[in-house]
Structure formats: structure tokens, C-alpha cells
């Protein structure tokens, strides 16, 4: 049933009719009902972006009465119906706006029609299709040209030298309504509001993002095709999706483990992306967390264990309490002791009865081993054994925390192969005012130590094959002998 409109749309597109023509089937009156059920809690009954949910959201819900829409494929300011439909369907990655593909397609078209009624003036001028320059495929040359253009047109001013959204203009940026707005972190394509495909990126570059500081670059590059070179460069900056894991693996190595986070060893280790959420269980709640992803690489060599953590933070901040600036902090949390039973401490930094053990690093102070009985009750463990080295550059921290595999007491965690050790992650962006319970965190993950990879996997299978072969030959022989008897 649902495929019918899709096929009809496909036919219309194939016939060269503008997709907008299809959108006209949307029924604003029907859309009103859907809107009030699904959209009004954030966007408000009046479409002004002042629903009850708006206050705690960053970025804030769109004010439809402005008629300004971030994502559009048009050369003028009017988005096409298809643009609105696509945003409703796919949501706005990196914001609180989810994709509504669960709604019937008809309802989504009706929503498009209804949303337009909030700013009828803005839709008087029909959308003019933006013509992108001729597409240039990705290649080493194109990426290099894109990098040159990135520097020439100074994308770094907002997006930072390496694209992590840490440029010098970052703190000044405001949206059309005067609210602070963060430049996109170009190394995280999956958070791009208008989608992560190359066409999506080229379109945003060419047409800009309305209502935000992001300007249109179509007429502001040296040659039109530079839009595509820039696109190819941006795509080369990071993975398409986070490389999330459900099991944290500590690889096995035989040599000494370097504490330098930029050492060669770490480049050979598999990145494991850990997604963090805001702490909203106890006050102060952190609805708009600053650090939502930490990349972990971890190894052990039978004596030591080391964790290599990478995370993006646009500001390097040490504690300056009088300026309401706190230190950037990251922590790995484990249950104390060596043989974790089924029961664990509460994931939110333990409680009065069951403490947790933290490997904690703080900008300006360095690493420490800490016992926590909840977020506000931290006690450093005397005689810390953890070695650490951190590097901050272009909006990114890289840190190594290294410690002995087996701890000398039960206040600390010990690690052993063949055991699933619970681990949780916590991070604070002091520059964004995060401290204490205002943090981002995860629940417990299982962590396992890889055993040094023996050569068993190369020995056993041929042995199995040879033995099977021998057995089969024997069976055939004996069968034949019996048969001929």
C-alpha cells in the first residue's frame, strides 16, 4: 500500500515534473491534527517553536512562523515541499528532531502543507531549484584541492583548522534569533543537520544554512567545482558513522606500552566509539551535554594495561572557579576489586554502600586513582600508580592512562583475561560549565582482555582437516573391503 505513492512519485520525477507538484496533495487541515499530536510539544501550537519542550533543547525547535528553514535545496529562500518532507522523514541529525518515517507518507505531506500555513508570506515565491556545479568524484587530488580551498575561504574561522567546530569565531556565533549556535564538527558527518551524503554536503556549502551564520559559498569559491572539492575534503575528515561497540576490547601486545598518545602503536589499534548521554538523574541535570562521544583504544601486555582516549572539546580549560570555568575531566569507572560478581555498584559513580574505582584525569592536575561514593564524594587513593600523558590540539584531547594490570589492593580494580570487567565512562567539558553531577556518562559496558593471540588458529584447523580426511579414507576403505567380502 505504502509503496504506491512512492512509485507515483518516482514516475513523476522520471517524467521531469518537480517533486513539489506531488507535495500539493498534502492536506493542511489533516496536517493540523497530526501536528498537534506529534509536533506541538516542541514546536508549539502556534508553530512558534515555543512548545513546552522548547526550553531545554539546544538547538531550539524551529520557529515555523519565521518561514526560515535550515535545510533546503533551493537557490532562493523558499524550501521546496520535498525539502520539508525530507526533514520530517529523516529528522535533523544531531538535534532533538527525530525522523518521522513511522508516520504514513500521506500524513507527512499533510504536515508539510500545514507547516507552510504558519508563514504563508514566505511561500509566495516558489522554490527555485539550486543548480549544483558538475559533480567531481573523490580522489586524492580533489581532496587536496578541497583542503586548499578550505584554507583559502577560511572555513577554519568557525569550523576549526581540523574541522572540529573549534574555530576562533565559535564563541561569538548566534543564530537568527540571537541564541548561541555551535559550528558543525565536520569530522562527524552523522550529525550534519541536512544529511551526510555528498550531495547533501555540497548543497549546504552552495546554498548556506538559513537562520544560522553558515553563508552560501556558491559564488564565493574560486571555481564552481570547488564546491565538490570541498565536499570531498569534508567527507575525508571522519568516518561515516560512529564505530560503536557493545563490548570494550583491550588488545594484547607484547612490547612496552607507550604513554605518548601520538605514538605509532595507537594508530594500529581499533577505535571503539563510546556514546555518552547527559546525566539527568540527579541535580544538576545536564540536558545539553558537551561531550557525547569518546573514542577508546586499549591494550595490555600481561603486566600493564593502558587506555587511549580521544574526545573533542572546543576549549582547553583548567579550573578557574571565579570565572565559572571548570577543568576538563574524563574518567573510566570500574568496580573495585578483582572478581566482579553479578552485583555491581550503581553506574552513576556508586553510592554510599558500594563505591566505584575511577581512573580520572583532570586538565591541570593530571591523572589520579579515586574512590567515589556518588558524583560528589570523591576520595583520592593514596599512592596513585597511574601514568598519564595528554595532548590537546585543534579541539581534540588525546590521553593515555596506564597502570599495572593487577592492583596492589582491593580499593582499585584489577584486570585479568577471561573475565568480563564492567567499565563505564564519564566526561566533563569544564569550558561549557560542566562539573560535579553536571556531566555526560554511560551505563556499564563489559570489558574483556584479549589473550595474546596464539597460533592455535593456524594449527588446529589444518589438523582437523587432515584428521577428517584420514578418517574418511579409512571409512571408505573399510566399507569397500566389507563390500567385496
Amino acid at each position: 500500500m505504502r509503496t504506491a505513492p512512492a512509485i507515483a512519485l518516482g514516475v513523476l520525477v522520471a517524467l521531469g515534473l518537480p517533486p513539489a507538484a506531488v507535495g500539493q496533495q498534502g492536506d493542511a487541515a489533516a496536517g493540523k491534527g497530526v501536528y498537534e499530536r506529534k509536533c506541538a510539544l516542541c514546536h508549539g501550537d502556534q508553530g512558534d517553536g515555543q512548545g513546552p519542550g522548547a526550553e531545554r533543547l539546544v538547538p531550539r525547535p524551529r520557529d515555523f512562523t519565521s518561514g526560515l528553514f535550515k535545510v533546503r535545496t533551493s537557490a532562493n529562500q523558499t524550501p521546496s515541499d520535498r525539502d520539508l518532507f525530507d526533514v520530517i522523514t529523516n529528522g535533523m541529525p544531531g538535534t532533538s528532531m527525530p525522523g518521522w518515517s513511522t508516520l504514513p507518507e500521506k500524513d507527512r505531506w499533510s504536515l508539510v502543507a500545514y507547516v507552510k500555513t504558519f508563514a504563508p508570506e514566505r511561500f509566495k515565491e516558489p522554490a527555485k531549484k539550486l543548480e549544483l556545479p558538475k559533480e567531481v568524484g573523490s580522489s586524492a587530488d580533489s581532496i587536496e584541492r578541497g583542503r586548499e580551498m578550505f584554507e583559502a575561504i577560511e572555513c577554519n574561522k568557525c569550523h576549526g583548522t581540523e574541522g572540529r567546530g573549534d574555530g576562533p569565531s565559535r564563541p561569538e556565533l548566534k543564530d537568527e534569533w540571537g541564541f548561541p549556535i555551535a559550528p558543525a564538527n565536520l569530522t562527524r558527518r552523522w550529525t550534519f543537520r541536512g544529511g551526510k551524503s555528498r550531495t547533501d554536503i555540497a548543497t549546504r556549502l552552495a546554498a548556506g544554512v538559513l537562520g544560522t551564520p553558515m553563508p552560501a559559498f556558491l559564488d564565493s569559491v574560486e571555481k564552481p567545482e570547488d564546491i565538490w572539492h570541498l565536499t570531498n575534503y569534508i567527507v575525508s575528515l571522519g568516518p561515516e558513522e560512529p564505530r560503536t561497540v557493545s563490548l570494550v576490547t583491550v588488545g594484547a601486545v607484547s612490547d612496552d606500552i607507550p604513554v605518548d598518545p601520538d605514538a605509532e602503536l595507537w594508530k594500529t589499534q581499533r577505535p571503539q566509539d563510546i556514546v555518552l548521554a547527559g546525566q539527568v538523574i540527579i541535580e544538576p541535570r545536564n540536558f545539553n551535554l558537551a561531550i557525547d562521544l569518546v573514542t577508546l583504544r586499549a591494550v595490555h601486555n600481561g603486566r600493564d594495561i593502558a587506555f587511549h582516549l580521544t574526545w573533542d572539546d572546543p576549549t582547553e580549560s583548567k579550573a578557574e572557579p571565579d570565572k565559572k570555568v571548570f577543568a576538563d575531566v574524563i574518567a573510566l569507572q570500574f568496580p573495585p576489586g578483582s572478581a566482579p560478581g553479578e552485583a555491581r555498584p550503581y553506574f552513576l559513580m556508586g553510592d554510599a554502600n558500594d563505591p566505584v574505582y575511577l581512573l580520572r584525569w583532570e586538565q591541570g592536575k593530571g591523572a589520579a586513582e579515586v574512590t567515589a561514593h556518588g558524583p560528589d564524594t570523591l576520595t583520592p587513593i593514596a599512592g596513585s600508580e597511574v601514568a598519564a600523558k595528554a595532548v590537546y590540539s585543534h579541539g581534540q584531547y588525546r590521553l593515555v592512562l596506564k597502570r599495572a594490570l593487577v592492583a596492589k589492593d582491593t580499593a582499585r580494580a584489577s584486570f585479568a583475561p577471561g573475565v568480563f570487567t564492567p567499565v563505564a565512562f564519564q566526561a566533563w567539558d569544564g569550558g561549557a560549565g560542566e562539573a560535579g553531577a553536571k556531566m555526560s556518562l554511560t551505563t556499564w559496558y563489559p570489558l574483556t582482555l584479549e589473550e595474546p593471540r596464539s597460533n592455535r588458529r593456524f594449527v588446529v584447523p589444518p589438523l582437523v582437516a587432515v584428521l577428517t580426511f584420514a578418517a574418511m579414507v579409512l571409512i571408505i576403505r573399510s566399507a569397500n573391503r566389507r563390500h567385496h567380502l
Binding site: Q77, A152, I153, L173, G208, P215, E222
Partner: protein
């Protein structure tokens, strides 16, 4: 030939940039001059901001003059126009420059049409306009893009900002008459060759708002009109 008869209104501004706006004389036969003077009864409002980037071009301090008051309480940067006097648009394009990370002049006035936006700094700026009657613009102007030409077709006052340098602020007043000017540091401006007759003179200031006054222009004479703008 027409150039020879051209009339110029000279607008001297803070950065002493000079904008020349020619008006067509054909409609201004037997016109007079309006000399407008705008006074302000309060202290100047000037904010300064530390600059942390592009200091070579922008300097280390940005001076944001919200209310610029000169000698004799003259209020600078006030748009003066005579909307009741109709005439042909000037042939010369209006120009606004981005120089030293500031819009120069801070306020320009033009008739509906084109404006050249220059980037003399050789660093990235972005022209971000806030308007209601005209489509708003947000276009990047990287260092190699020395001039961009934009069009404003409907009368209104357009705010111009640059998101890269958030302190940058400029105003483009689009007025439906070629008889216009912007007050200089002393709060005065001269509008020449205004057709004779009774006219309305309108002044507009970015933070202090609008006022109008009636004035009678006689051929070959100078009509003085004086405004007193109050602190808000």
C-alpha cells in the same frame, strides 16, 4: 553632459570615508538645499571589545559606537531623507566596504538598486543581512572576492553583520528618494537640489529611532531643519 550638471551630496563619516552619490539633475531644476542638523541630548554610547583573531587586520580592540556624538552635541550616523521628493535614481552605485573589520561607512543610504560590497581586509567576511521586505542575504566573501554586488529593491533599513567577526555591524538604508544623506561627525548633512515645495524630512538612527519634520524648500535657497533626538 549630465555629469556636468550632477549634484553631489557629500557624506563624511567616522572613518572619513567618502561616498559620492550623484543625482540626476533633470528632475532637480530650480531646486534648493536642505541642511539638516541632528542633535542628541545624551552621552555617547561606545563599547569596546577585545579581539582574539585576525588582529593584523582588525586590531586588538573593536570600538562599537552605538551612539556617536560629535562637537556641539551633533549626532552622527543618522540617515536623513526627503521621501516626499521624487527623482531619478543616481547613476553611481552605492558602496560599502569592510575595512579593519568594520563596515565603512557604518551607515549608507541608497535608492532601491544595486550596492557594491567590498572586502578590503583580505580575510574572510560574510555578508549577513537582516531584513523583512528584501530577501535576506548570507554570503561568504573570502579574501579573493574583492567586490560583491547585491540588490535591494524595496525601501527599508537593512542590518548587516558578519558572523565571523560578530562585532561588525553596518546599516544599509534603502529610501524611496534620491534626496538623502547621512549626518557626519558633527551631526549635519546637506541635501542639494531638492525640488522646491513643501517636504517631509525624515531622520533615522539605529538605536534612537525615527523622527519627521516638515520643511519648505525654495529655489536656490538653503532650508535649515534641526532635529533633537532624545535619549531612549
Amino acid at each position: 553632459m549630465r555629469n556636468a550638471l550632477g549634484v553631489f551630496s557629500v557624506v563624511a563619516l567616522l572613518a572619513s570615508a567618502v561616498t559620492l552619490i550623484g543625482t540626476d539633475s533633470a528632475t532637480a531644476q530650480g531646486g534648493g538645499t536642505i541642511e539638516a542638523e541632528v542633535k542628541y541630548n545624551g552621552p555617547p554610547v561606545v563599547e569596546t571589545l577585545k579581539i582574539n583573531k585576525d588582529t593584523q587586520q582588525c586590531g586588538t580592540d573593536a570600538k562599537i559606537e552605538k551612539v556617536a556624538v560629535g562637537a556641539n552635541k551633533g549626532l552622527a550616523n543618522t540617515v536623513v531623507s526627503v521621501p516626499t521628493a521624487k527623482g531619478q535614481a543616481p547613476a553611481k552605485k552605492t558602496v560599502i566596504d569592510q575595512k579593519g573589520c568594520a563596515f565603512v561607512p557604518h551607515v549608507v543610504v541608497m535608492t532601491p538598486g544595486q550596492i557594491d560590497i567590498k572586502n578590503s581586509d583580505g580575510i574572510l567576511h560574510n555578508i549577513h543581512t537582516y531584513s523583512s521586505a528584501n530577501p535576506s542575504i548570507n554570503k561568504a566573501q573570502p579574501k579573493f572576492k574583492k567586490v560583491m554586488t547585491e540588490k535591494f529593491e524595496k525601501p527599508e533599513v537593512v542590518k548587516v553583520t558578519c558572523d565571523v567577526h560578530s562585532w561588525m555591524l553596518g546599516w544599509i538604508a534603502i529610501v524611496p528618494t534620491p534626496y538623502h544623506g547621512v549626518t557626519d561627525a558633527n551631526g549635519t548633512t546637506k541635501i542639494e537640489n531638492v525640488p522646491a515645495g513643501k517636504h517631509t524630512v525624515e531622520v533615522w538612527h539605529e538605536t534612537l529611532g525615527k523622527q519627521t519634520k516638515e520643511v519648505e524648500v525654495k529655489p536656490g535657497q538653503t532650508a535649515k531643519v534641526s532635529f533633537e533626538v532624545k535619549k531612549k
